[in-house]
């Protein structure tokens, strides 16, 4: 699975949690999930669990700490999938 495909899936998963829908129009790897997309920090866990289900991976607690941007999600998923 390419990083572009992962990116598309990540955006799809994030969409229901996004509070600032305008930010979705210009979403990129640099987009910050909490600050730009205004995803509720408590819901970030649900987002990561959705990644686990979608990509059939297991994400460690410590790895969640490094997730800030959409690009971080893509790199984490690509790295975990191996």
């Amino acid at each position: 699975m390419s990083e572009e495909q992962i990116f598309e899936q990540v955006v799809k998963i994030l969409t229901p949690y996004v509070k600032d829908e305008k930010a979705l129009a210009s979403i990129s790897g640099e987009t910050n999930i909490l600050e730009d997309l205004k995803v509720n920090s408590a819901r970030l866990v649900d987002v990561v669990l959705a990644f686990e289900d979608e990509f059939d991976i297991e994400i460690a607690d410590e790895d969640v700490d490094s997730v800030n941007t959409v690009g971080d999600c893509v790199s984490l998923i690509a790295r975990t999938k191996g």
Binding site: S41, A42, L44, V45, V48, L49, E52, E58, I59, A60, D61, E62, V64, D65, S66, V67, N68
Partner: protein
Amino acid sequence: MSVRIALWLQRNLSRLISPLWIPLCVFVMTYIFRWKIEGAKSSRAEYSRLRKASVPVLICANHLTKLDSALIGWALGGMTFYLRDFGAVAWNLPAREHFAYSWWARIAVYLLKCIPIDRGGSRKGIAQVLSKLTWLMNRGEAGLVFPEGGRSRTGRVDVQSAAYGVGRIIKALPGCRVLCVYIRGRSQDSWSDLPKRGESFFVAVRSFEPKSDKGGLRGSVDIAEQVMMHLSAMESSYFDDHA
């Protein structure tokens, strides 16, 4: 100064002045606020039993007022108990916005075994605070957290609002026992800053050892949900018995 030395210094400074602040807290709750705890004998016996078992103990409670930590401490032990076993005075993680807003508040929370946390802050910042608590609990200190992550806005335990960090702490501490505490003022209908003067508090405790077959983040979420289910069941019992 390393984080660990700083934590140990905080712990020992707090211990040094504990013969002043522990009786002062009890005095204020007993004679100024005129609060009363119902069922303290059994909750204290259970906490004392867990402390003697020499396993990490994480106290997980429902959360309705800003002074719940002090009330829970009082419900779980008397002055002599805490002065003899200072590790039993639980560390807690108050929201920085409420408890560390001025220099005197920062000194107070420092001396009362608190590690302020930035609610809604960066994941790394929160992880550092959880890691400090885990390190302390590995060394015989008790911890106190509110798994809902804040005062319950509905006035009832909200199972859906489980903060997964609770599960993360427990997973990092093999053999960790959770002491669920359900505390509620008899006239406390919803959340508030302070309980009413003269309030009488119902308290119930239940201990268990959470386990999960799941790994990673899902395991932490699973454990956090187990804790919330216990608190929710305790709340249901309260309302069934006191309706």
